[in-house]
Symmetry: C2
Subunit: 555 residues, 2 copies
Amino acid sequence: MKHGVEVTNRGSTFRVWAPRHRSLSLVLDGRTLPMNPQGQGQFSLYSPEASAGTRYAYQFEDGRIRPDPASLRQPEGVHRASAVFDTKAFRWREEGWEGIDLEALVFYELHVGTFTQEGTLDAAAAYLAELAELGVTCVELMPVQPFAGDRNWGYDGVLPYAVHESYGGPVALQRFVDAAHRAKLAVCLDVVFNHFGPEGNYLGEFAPYFSSRHRTPWGDGINYDGEDCGPVRELVVGAATQWIRDFHLDALRLDAVHAIPDESPRRIVREIADAVRDVGREMGRKIYVVAESDLNDRRVVERRPGGWGTSSAWADDFHHAVHAFLTGERSHYYADFGSREDISRALEEGFVYQGQFSPFRGRPHGTPTKGLLPPQFVFALQNHDQVGNRPLGERMIALIPREAWPSLAAILVLGPALPLLFMGEEYGETRPFLYFTSHSDPALAKAVSEGRKRELIAAGVGDVPDPQDPATFLASKLSHRRDGDHGVIRGVYQELLRMRRRFQRCIAEEWPQAAWAGNVLAISRSQFSLRANLGPDAASGLPPWGWRVEPAGGA
Amino acid sequence: MKHGVEVTNRGSTFRVWAPRHRSLSLVLDGRTLPMNPQGQGQFSLYSPEASAGTRYAYQFEDGRIRPDPASLRQPEGVHRASAVFDTKAFRWREEGWEGIDLEALVFYELHVGTFTQEGTLDAAAAYLAELAELGVTCVELMPVQPFAGDRNWGYDGVLPYAVHESYGGPVALQRFVDAAHRAKLAVCLDVVFNHFGPEGNYLGEFAPYFSSRHRTPWGDGINYDGEDCGPVRELVVGAATQWIRDFHLDALRLDAVHAIPDESPRRIVREIADAVRDVGREMGRKIYVVAESDLNDRRVVERRPGGWGTSSAWADDFHHAVHAFLTGERSHYYADFGSREDISRALEEGFVYQGQFSPFRGRPHGTPTKGLLPPQFVFALQNHDQVGNRPLGERMIALIPREAWPSLAAILVLGPALPLLFMGEEYGETRPFLYFTSHSDPALAKAVSEGRKRELIAAGVGDVPDPQDPATFLASKLSHRRDGDHGVIRGVYQELLRMRRRFQRCIAEEWPQAAWAGNVLAISRSQFSLRANLGPDAASGLPPWGWRVEPAGGA
């Protein structure tokens, strides 16, 4: 089933799936036009006048007017009319771009709203040359799909084909990707296919997009496997392929694949991964699907029948092990970590938990990783979740001796997995990344503010940043400082990324050996070794918190 | 974690998992004894006196007294005390029994309560010689686990290790299996690991056996993959292996595997299948796990990583196709069937639905079967569900010309899959098999009676059998008639089963070709062919409703 608007030189065709309604009207520039039922709950209408920019919405028999579930633009927000957008109008200038190899991916996670003062894609694009110079290879945009209000991490998005207007809308995303490719950077987009935001989600009024068969933290799960799941799956697969075909994204990061219940023989994650790769083949581009996975389950990256078919998956054990060891924290999931050996196991095998009992989860966790390759894992020292879900949003560098950071960066960048940097990490940003929202529904806004307050009081935090307060959002904006040690830290990352490129093939093909001598961690491969002192005292010829890379066979 | 009572010559050790309680008492022959906490929520107590027959129960701090979740005997029903049972006391006389080959399985589904007037396992055992003579090879007992009251199909069982007392209790099951093996019959037990009955289910009072993460038609799902799932899985795997090791069952039929939600890397179904086969290897027996599956999904019988590892799975498409074609019914799931080609496709490939859109389900259904072998499928002309879920419980033979039955029997028995006969089918039983219960909770009893009434009125049925009325149960008891055509039909089955044995290897290894000429269906393999006239007129040299088997190469 086709979803959305097809734009041509001679007008546009509007299509929407609304089996909950016997009749449906298209509201077009103020006129109300009855649509033609096409069977199976689909309605369509051709309009010779409608073109890019034309405002439209759908009206039910009872008078309610709703935006298009497959809208690309919401100029006045998620509650109001959609606008026709012609994806084919953009003039791409990225000649010769074919994407980059999986093993060359170094992600830079970027939140558009807080990366710059302006909070737009165009403003972010001004930093692309700097990022390329730093040595990261793939900008990973946190979700850009429209949400209620102006301030949100992006996981409250409600329209899977659209780009948030205050970020610049869809054309700004095309400009951003085009500019990135010209700077030789790939772009990955974070897409949320496990839930919709709590405000402005009207999809269920059109069709059975949700099913009470599945219970999720956000209420009824998305209907990927029940009656009428076909058009639901097509909407989501259509969104995924749109980002590749029409916006030239190089990769998708699938949010929380562990929260996508689907008992179909072919999981929706697999269907997305296959569809996206097919489009990549047609375009002659290298395209990747990266899973955010909490499962430690090899199935997620396996291509065999029954595998979920993603290119690579987040493996947070590495972060948890480093964080717990360095900070001494043992609350929540850090309860499962803390020993030196957790860090070395993550480096040698990808997951720490490969089936053993997890005290935090109260059950066995994970599968063996034997036979998987390093680029099938993504490691980070922090990401938006681990920073932003802390009551005060502190980055890890604020919780440990600041001079320890370069050693950690070395372990990350020269570690086995694809590295992910969280924006600002590359220069030791001191500002927090807080949880912020801008819900316009007063009851929801109050609930979010008060819920957060309760959590933080429970966590023993007195001064509580209110997610709804614009100051919380503003406090999270990057400083982009270069003074003091900020420039030094950036220089370290730059040097490390240069070394990663030099040893890229070796890193991708060999799991390292990782051994501790006191606080000194040695990570060895056939071509080079890294030694990092994770302690405050000089040891093994390394200064406190020092690190050194040596080619194999000695200097 | 060990569940249940360990009986020795010198007393018994009681073990129970009750992490919801800080302390727990064992009520033993009227005395209340504090139990010893063993860590991880387990409590245990050794009693030098307790032996087979000793009554016991567990008492919570608030005074509630509950039977043992791993009880083997409930002499006074599901709400009262358990009784110690020594599985090792039975003297087996089945010397030399090693089980039978998968391809030799011909199931005979038997409900203990209605198979005989007495409604006991011992009374049923008196028919074993006749069943062996008929030519079936495996008696499949509908669930024998205790339920509230005396009359139930068995799917309201609440204690997975026990045998319903009015069936004769656990020792009667041992006697039955022993007698079956001496009659050269295997025994398969139907076990329900997807839900517990609505009355007498106290497991959740002990421990987190259920999880609100999973929503099922019976309420919260069993906690196979959440916090503390380890001991839950051990309870269920322990029950499965107990039936093989201590009761010498040859096969387990897993009820509704499609209703067992489990996101673990290794599904509980796979764990059960592997564990049961391991026990079989230790015992030197051929052991099988058969899945009742509504999924048409090859994963269910696949042994590769990610496969669910069962030996064979129910494939109801064959039934639905035959039923819809012969009766003309098109309601409910019969909406997906009705053409001749549905029957021939099921015969040639196992499933009719292999991924195409199912109108009844409103979504694509099934996976291809290519590469699977015929014994990985179980076919039936009817079973307890298809008969008993009809408002008036009619067997298919009552819905079609009675003289058509032998042809259908021929297609079933000489079809590709393992055949399953529903008790009474072999002689053309005319009595119905109705839905009956005997809930003792008055509110539940009323709800079941009235719920059924509403369903039946909705179905346009006037005279409504009340599930709670003992007459409904009594009306479902077999007549075991041999008069009139009953003996003739039985003779046909006997002859067909003899032919199946003769061509067993050919049937197991070759998918047949199935072709229609008018109403005549020809099913051909390298060694023989069957032609069956499914119409009221003579055709192709066959009389109305006639059938004939011919060895390949002509007579």
